[in-house]
């Protein structure tokens, strides 16, 4: 291969051997395209892109966490809390930078709590993040009395409706954060340690790497991404609601697993997650389009995702 060709290939060198998500995405896209003429329209496709921006951002953090053999069940609740805090500060005439700073701080602090309890205390990740889920959800409800925070200044809507050089802000944010995560994961020490922690944590510790501190950084990064995603979701609803993202962590976990990242041995990466998140977003969008009621959607999405994960597990075992 020539140097030029190699340079051109480099960013895609990490594209994994087609994960299960690719087949699911193709199947869903073909199915919905046949079922509904609107599905492939430019308007609907841009809708899907806008809708999956927040999911992809959260899924990026989830990928890193899962690569370290962890899990983050608190992502949706933390996202909700970040949105609520930002909304309350803005509704009481706080400045936008302060509100954004506070939300980011909460996301990072929640992530650090998760990380510290997992890394330093040695607690199982799902129990830590389930506890933090309860705490964050409860705080969001207490702060809002369970109601939506409305009356946000128009400036907030920029996070969803604004554009830079014609590219919508959510898409831009998603691409930028994907690029950032790509660089962190494949071009820095941080990224190599993420894979190594999942691959052989003990060896890394023996090599003198401060594994615990890096693990905290992984969860903190996931918390930061949840906070950033909360801006987009709050802007889309033009209101902050404490339960806005409950269940988003399920979509994110599904996106990661469908994307071929496994809970063992640090296998996987963010290209697969991108395809996985698209598959989940297409599934939700398509079900809406063909007019399946929201009641059925919850069950069908759960069913499709569990089946896909089960098929993937069987395929990998074979």
């Amino acid at each position: 291969m020539t140097a030029a060709a190699r340079a051109l290939r480099a960013p895609f060198a990490r594209v994994p051997e087609l994960p299960g998500a690719a087949f699911l995405l193709a199947l869903l896209a073909a199915g919905f395209a046949l079922a509904h003429p609107e599905f492939l329209s430019a308007r609907n496709l841009s809708n899907i892109a806008l809708q999956c921006a927040a999911l992809i951002i959260v899924s990026l953090g989830m990928t890193l966490v899962i690569l370290t053999e962890g899990i983050d069940l608190s992502a949706g609740a933390v996202l909700g809390l970040c949105g609520v805090v930002m909304g309350l500060l803005l509704a009481s005439h706080g400045s936008l930078p302060v509100a954004i700073g506070a939300a980011v701080l909460i996301g990072v602090v929640a992530g650090c709590c998760n990380g510290a309890l997992v890394a330093y205390a040695g607690m199982p990740p799902f129990i830590v993040t389930l506890g933090v889920y309860g705490i964050a959800q409860s705080l969001a409800m207490v702060l809002t009395q369970g109601n939506s925070v409305t009356g946000l200044p128009p400036a907030v809507r920029w996070f969803n409706e604004g554009d830079l050089a014609g590219v919508p802000v959510p898409i831009l944010a998603m691409v930028a954060l994907f690029a950032l995560t790509w660089v962190l994961l494949y071009r820095t020490r941080f990224g190599r340690y993420v894979f190594a922690i999942g691959g052989n944590r003990r060896a890394l510790e023996l090599a003198g790497v401060r594994v615990r501190a890096w693990l905290v950084a992984v969860y903190a990064f996931a918390g930061l991404l949840a906070a950033l995603a909360s801006f987009i979701m709050t802007a889309r609803m033009n209101a902050a609601h404490p339960t806005i993202a409950i269940g988003l962590e399920f979509d994110a976990i599904a996106a990661v697993i469908l994307g071929g990242t496994s809970f063992e041995k640090g296998n996987g990466g963010i290209w697969g997650t991108l395809v996985g998140a698209l598959a989940v977003a297409v599934l939700r969008n398509g079900l809406n389009l063909v007019g399946l009621s929201t009641e059925w959607q919850v069950a069908v999405v759960g069913l499709v995702i569990v089946s896909a994960v089960a098929l993937d597990a069987l395929r990998n075992r074979a």
Binding site: I127, S138, E295, A313
Partner: protein, 317 residues
């Protein structure tokens, strides 16, 4: 091996000591704070609440003993409650009970098969089932609330035998049965073995996969049964029933000292954990703390309980 055996008593002692101290401190504190706390009426409320939580947490305890987890129990409880309510309100109590328990069994069997035979991590399989069961309950109810059940059915949750609430009797019965099963049957001992070392359990000839499916099925059935008791108690059901109970059930198991890594613990601990949580909720109600804070308390309790046990175990090593 010998070291492990010698280490065990210290861990058990630690759990027993910390939990007893917590329970005693809670009782003394609540008795000081509220003169109403030590009345018979309030004790009945606390015990009934504890029994409801224990019903759900008891099946989960067995799952956790094998080193697994069942995150679907809150949603399965809700699905059981919805299906049961639908049939019972239209006059057929027997059909309602059968539908609820059947749904719980089906969910549990699928969970078990996914974990044991397909090899999906337990928290993923059961987390997916959470959304499937929740969605099905939602489909069945279409956002409505079903209320008003026949008095005979309501006895299950709101009745008394003498001065003792029926749910407390049911909870006590299940506690005794499960305790005996865990300690005196091959199946029960196998659960500890699977949690302690799944490979060794399999190599020593135990039908580990079949036992795992049984455990998840049991967890599903007990959760659905808890759903029936809940709707009999509150006389109403909607698709959100049970949603907040998952965290409480996990808190009860952790507080009870059952190790999340499997292989150690039991249902007696979970019963005590349920009692502590019922006291916490009761205390919060008596101090008129908003119910929104309850999830906060459960989250903190889960984390602190596991943190204490994990830290103690580390110090012992």
């Amino acid at each position: 091996m010998i070291a492990a055996v010698q280490r065990m008593p210290a861990e058990v002692l630690f759990v027993v000591f910390t939990r007893t101290a917590f329970l005693a401190a809670l009782v003394v504190l609540l008795a000081i704070v509220s003169p109403h706390f030590l009345t018979t009426d309030n004790m009945v409320i606390v015990l009934r609440q504890a029994a409801l939580q224990f019903l759900m947490a008891s099946g989960l305890t067995l799952v956790v003993l094998t080193g697994g987890i069942d995150l679907s129990i809150g949603a399965v409880l809700g699905l059981g409650a919805c299906l049961g309510a639908g049939f019972i309100a239209s006059g057929s109590v027997l059909m309602g009970v059968a539908a609820a328990l059947g749904a719980g069994l089906a969910c549990g069997l699928v969970n078990g098969a996914l974990v044991a035979y397909v090899g999906i991590p337990a928290f993923i399989a059961t987390y997916g089932m959470l959304w499937v069961a929740h969605g099905l309950g939602y489909v069945f109810m279409k956002g409505e609330v079903i209320h008003g059940f026949p008095a005979a059915f309501r006895t299950l949750g709101a009745g008394f035998v003498g001065a003792i609430p029926v749910p407390v009797l049911i909870g006590a019965g299940i506690l005794i049965v499960l305790h005996v099963v865990l300690h005196l049957t091959r199946f029960g001992r196998a659960l500890y073995a699977i949690g302690g070392n799944a490979v060794a359990a399999k190599l020593s000839g135990m039908p580990t996969k079949r036992f795992l499916v049984t455990v998840y099925a049991l967890s599903g059935v007990l959760a659905a049964f808890a759903g029936l008791v809940v709707i009999a108690r509150v006389n109403a059901a909607d698709s959100g029933t049970g949603e907040e109970l998952l965290l409480t059930a996990i808190a009860a198991v952790c507080l009870g000292g059952t190790s999340l890594f499997g292989g150690a613990g039991g249902v007696v601990g979970t019963a005590i954990g349920s009692l502590i949580l019922a006291l916490v909720v009761n205390g919060m109600n008596m101090l008129s703390i908003a119910t929104f804070w309850q999830a906060f308390a459960m989250g903190v309790i889960v984390i602190l309980a596991v943190l204490a046990d994990v830290s103690f175990k580390r110090r012992m090593q």
